[in-house]
């Protein structure tokens, strides 16, 4: 992989990742394209610019950790891992098929380079705290990033973890909320509204950054600010668009858990050309 800080180069990687997401979920005929597409800039900025990692050494003790707490967005992570060189690109289209390393949700048994097996919502932030505490005990300077879904933070355990992380000043931890405003049953604000979201995290003792989650320079700046923030954990509330990059998928509740048809794959790939 070639790391880069250039927003234009990162944007071009994002496009490639989006093409993978469309073809993978299209081939699988199931999966979660919408919430994968919304998180592309976040994941690409982390893997190609921000995070310290080395695909040749997935067990490097000092690597930064990434946990996809919203495990159903596995396609975005698989596409990134494959493009980085951790896993084969050729088999991405075996997503969700029997025997594939690209399981329906991230499964560490099949991909050892994953930091954790995830899929049951609400649990990844606590896992990330555990890794961040281990770093502190071992006097290592790696950072832990946890990508949360917006609907996911309706889970009570998120707030147990939020309380713990600030109380224990876990400042080597950064949570990112992919705030795409949609969950399976519809719009988050109609299912169980999260607002005022930034105020909630501030009240729980976190440093809060709000940004457009598709704005790569803003993400780069925010991750730098998070790393520089001492004494408290940082949460980045990333306002995103579900289905981002594919016109007919954008802001459509349908594509939370429905794969594109072959015709839709063709249309989407044209848009992402």
């Amino acid at each position: 992989m070639e790391r880069t800080q250039d927003p234009a180069a990162l944007a071009s990687i994002c496009k490639q990742i989006r093409r993978h997401i469309i073809t993978m979920t299209g081939a699988a005929k199931s999966g979660h394209p919408g919430g994968s597409l919304s998180a592309v800039e976040i994941v690409v900025t982390l893997y190609w610019d921000v995070m310290r990692h080395d695909p040749a050494r997935p067990d490097w003790p000092d690597r930064d950790r990434f946990i996809l707490s919203k495990g159903h967005a596995a396609p975005v992570l698989y596409a990134a891992l494959a493009e980085c060189g951790y896993t084969p690109k050729e088999t991405l289209n075996t997503l969700r098929k029997l025997g594939s390393i690209y399981q329906g949700h991230p499964d560490k048994r099949f991909i050892p380079a994953l930091e954790a097996s995830t899929g049951s919502l609400g649990e990844g932030l606590s896992l990330g705290i555990g890794m961040a505490l281990a770093a502190r005990l071992d006097r290592r300077d790696y950072r832990t990033y946890v990508l949360l879904g917006d609907g996911e933070i309706q889970e009570g355990q998120i707030w147990e973890a939020a309380m713990f992380a600030s109380f224990h000043k876990v400042d080597n931890l950064c949570a990112i909320i992919d705030y795409n405003k949609l969950q399976l049953d519809g719009f988050v604000k109609e299912i169980l509204d999260l607002e005022p979201l930034a105020d909630k995290w501030r009240a729980f003792g976190w440093h809060v950054i709000e940004l457009d989650g598709h704005d790569i320079p803003a993400l780069q700046k925010a991750f730098a600010e998070a790393a520089a923030t001492k004494g408290k954990p940082t949460v980045i509330i990333a306002h995103t668009i579900k289905g981002k990059g594919v016109s007919f998928m954008e802001n459509s509740p349908k594509y939370h858990g429905v794969a594109p048809t072959p015709e839709e794959v063709e249309l989407a790939l044209k848009e992402l050309a």
Binding site: S126, M131, A134, A161, M163
Partner: protein, 320 residues
């Protein structure tokens, strides 16, 4: 090996106390041992570890699900975490996290439940764990240990720390009757034959082991030779010892401080059905208990030597 008549019930340390002391020893030996607790350090006895290693004891407050998941994160980052709370809370409120973050990816977390069974006493059913064997044994990759006394607990905690993979250890609140000499030897997955016998086998775990020994003495005085096996490892079960017991004694009794519909007894029956069907009687709980002293509760809910001996007589009557 004992002869049944020679067993004298003397109280030793509580198994939770033995857990706390052993954890402290382990902490001194290995800096990677870390501990999570949920506002019960003075009850789970992780307090000894907390006092000496405050930086390695993560007090999670009353948030068991978060504690289990943080423990999983620590394990994934190379630590050897023990998380502890009352069995009634850590296995229930943390079950989903144990399932997805620990059992399924086979993560190296050690879970110690204290205040197991009804012998917690006065606090009553909301704090009593009577479903824990069902819950812990439902989790693939978990080894489930249920030590009878202080010596067995010391072994169980040390074995868990050395083992790569998830372990659940069940411990109790009250002082536990001494079963073993300090030099006793244990093997994971191997039942201990405490008393030889040829007419009937008494299988017991945890606090019921001492009661089974007393029951064997009573039966001996009636001319019945009862074998006593301590099932300190509930999963994996020592199926060979069970098969041998079924073949050689032809009748069995299982005694446990747990609901009979989902505990050790059903696991024993499953193993025997596969290997060597034999009549079995089950001594355990049939529902939730109430407040009372541990001794009053064990009497009232039928978890005594007399109940085990009566079950032995029943099963002997069924023996072909």
């Amino acid at each position: 090996m004992l002869t049944a008549a020679k067993y004298e019930k003397k109280l030793g340390a509580a198994t939770r106390e033995a857990f706390g002391r052993t954890l402290l020893e382990l902490g001194r030996e290995n800096p990677d041992i870390v501990v999570g607790d949920a506002d019960l350090t003075k009850s789970t006895m992780t307090t000894y570890f907390a006092k000496e290693f405050p930086d390695r004891l993560f007090e999670c407050g009353i948030a068991e699900a978060n504690m289990v998941a943080i423990g999983a994160g620590l394990a994934l980052a190379g630590k050897i975490p023990f998380v502890s709370s009352f069995s009634a809370f850590v296995l229930t409120k943390g079950f989903e996290q144990l399932r997805v973050l620990v059992a399924y990816p086979n993560v190296n977390l050690k879970v110690v439940g204290t205040h197991s069974g009804i012998s917690i006493g006065e606090d009553g059913p909301s704090q009593m764990s009577v479903e824990e064997i069902a819950l812990a044994c439902a989790l693939p990759n978990f080894v489930v240990l249920s030590p009878a006394d202080e010596v067995a607990t010391r072994w169980a905690v040390r074995w868990a720390a050395a083992h790569q993979g998830p372990v659940f250890i069940r411990t109790g609140r009250p002082k536990a009757p001494i079963v073993y000499n300090s030099d006793a030897h244990f093997e994971m997955g191997k039942a201990v034959e405490l008393v030889p016998g040829s007419d009937v086998t008494l299988l017991a775990t945890g606090l019921m082991v001492a009661e089974a020994l007393l029951a064997a003495a009573q039966l001996e005085s009636e001319g019945i030779s009862a074998r006593v096996l301590d099932i300190h490892t509930i999963k994996p079960l020592d199926e060979e010892a069970l098969e041998r017991a079924a073949r050689e004694t032809g009748a069995l009794v299982v005694a446990e401080e747990h609901l009979v519909d989902s505990g050790l007894g059903v696991r024993v029956a499953q193993a025997l059905a596969k290997r060597c069907p034999a009549p079995v009687e089950f001594v355990g709980l049939h529902g939730y208990a109430e407040s009372g002293s541990p001794d009053e509760l064990l009497d009232k809910y039928g978890l005594r030597a007399a109940n085990i001996a009566a079950a032995a007589r029943r099963v002997l009557a069924r023996k072909a």
